[in-house]
């Protein structure tokens, strides 16, 4: 946790943070809400053999999909790769190790990491061998539950609508999705935002991510997602 009271920086200045073999967690859902500028910074950084954690693999040219398609990822914990055929191809070729997690449980595992809970118990997919087989289990009052462990990352990247210099964040509509959870779960959290407003401008009841969870803020050059899921 880096703690200046002005967390604004530039894409260039944070490029060195991304290094080989690190774990990167990204906000976003179907590419929407995945910080496009930070994805490009990761590509530029040259970092490879990355361990990724996030809702899905985006599209080949949108969201985390660009990292996956560039062959920079070694593993990913995710819930869905259907919109990025390259992810499936790399998996089939043995070049990308994918752990599938039910979507809501994945979100809870990220949140658990963010709030310092070691794991949650889950009754989701207990009868699905792909989900349940390699997970520790525990019996509670005659029902067996899966132990779904918390997830954290070396760096979390998120997209938000507005930040103040302290790193307080608010999100826009459904681009919120997994971003507030991912924001809490990084050792270092970087927020790409549409706008930085002066301290005091964000209403304290409306702040979704308190700035103590955020280390760096960069201003976005615009988003690149569009509507091409199907």
């Amino acid at each position: 946790m880096v703690k200046p009271f002005n967390k604004k920086t530039s894409f260039d200045k944070i490029k060195h943070l991304f290094t080989n073999e690190m774990t990167i967690m990204y906000g976003g859902f179907g590419g929407i809400g995945t910080p496009p500028g930070l994805i490009d910074v990761i590509l530029d950084s040259g970092a490879e053999n990355l361990h990724l954690i996030g809702n899905d693999t985006g599209f080949p040219d949108i969201g985390i999909g660009k990292i996956v398609c560039a062959g920079r990822a070694k593993s990913i914990i995710t819930s869905h790769i259907g919109s990025n055929p390259v992810a499936g191809q790399l998996m089939t070729e043995g070049k990308l190790d994918i752990e599938f997690s039910p979507q809501g449980i994945l979100a809870e595992r990220i949140r658990a990491g963010g709030v310092g809970i070691p794991a949650i118990l889950s009754d989701i997919g207990t009868e699905n061998s792909f989900i349940a087989n390699h997970k520790p289990k525990v019996k509670l009052e005659n029902t067996e539950y899966l132990i779904e462990t918390a997830l954290t990352a070396d760096i979390s990247i998120v997209y938000a609508k507005q930040a103040d210099p302290y790193g307080n964040l608010i999100y826009d509509k459904s681009a919120r999705n997994t971003n507030p959870l991912v924001a809490m779960a990084g050792e270092i959290t970087i927020a790409e935002v549409e706008e930085i407003v002066p301290v005091g401008k964000l209403h304290p009841d409306q702040i979704v991510t308190p700035g103590v969870f955020v280390d760096y803020i960069v201003v976005s050059e615009g988003v690149n997602w569009k509507w091409v899921w199907e």
Partner: protein
């Protein structure tokens, strides 16, 4: 052989008829997304999306889309008055808490016990389960909209699913291009048939035992 838009809308319209006033409903991608077009105006319903929307409204006019307002399938939507946004844990909290009255989704296979397979074709296609397990396992009613047969003419309704299951014993109603079939304690009950198909067509296209309802409803085109 894909399904023409007429078949798709026929199925969506039939699914819409399952929705009653005040329900909270999640719609999967594909044919289920057509369901709202067939809802009568007097039905008030809350459409829910896993990415954190409660109260999805109609599709936006072309040119008025908001890049930051999409459903879980990534398609632009609008928000109804009274709707709200939340993060994914709260959206799935609603699902696991049992607040969803209905989920309408697609499937690769369904069997006579209501087992659902819709997330993986081993060795071929591995999209991942997304939120389907939670939706199938926790919604009060699960309605499947799918082709009756696959592109090779093989029944997608089977005695046992050959594909890995998403969730066992979760499907309540199957709506296909041929028929409407209820999953009951006693197995599959054929309740409705879409013209021009006959009861025999449905039986012929189904890879397991079907009980025929006393009064099969006939849907004219």
């Amino acid at each position: 052989m894909g399904l023409g838009i007429d078949h798709r809308n026929k199925m969506a319209k039939r699914a819409a008829a399952e929705i009653t006033n005040g329900m909270i409903v999640n719609l999967g991608i594909g044919i289920p997304s057509l369901v709202p077009n067939h809802l009568p105006d007097e039905i008030q319903v809350i459409f829910h999306a896993e990415n954190g929307i409660t109260g999805i409204g109609p599709s936006p006019e072309i040119g008025t889309e908001d890049a930051n307002l999409c459903n879980a399938g990534g398609l632009p939507v609008t928000l109804k008055e009274g709707g709200s946004y939340c993060d994914s844990t709260i959206a799935f909290g609603m699902i696991r808490r049992g607040l969803l009255d209905m989920t309408i989704l697609g499937a690769l296979q369904v069997n006579e016990e209501g087992d659902l397979a819709n997330w993986i074709v081993p060795g071929k296609k591995v999209p991942g389960m997304g939120g389907a397990i939670e939706l199938a396992q926790k919604s009060k009613k699960v309605v499947v909209l799918m082709n009756h047969t696959d592109k090779n003419g093989k029944s997608k309704i089977a005695a046992k699913c050959s594909l890995p299951l998403t969730s066992p014993k979760c499907v309540n109603l199957i709506i296909t291009d041929l028929a409407v079939i209820e999953v009951t304690e006693q197995g599959l009950l054929l309740k409705e048939v879409f013209s021009p198909y006959s009861i025999e067509d449905v039986i012929h296209s189904t890879d397991c035992q079907l009980t025929i309802a006393e009064n099969v409803i006939w849907h004219e085109e």
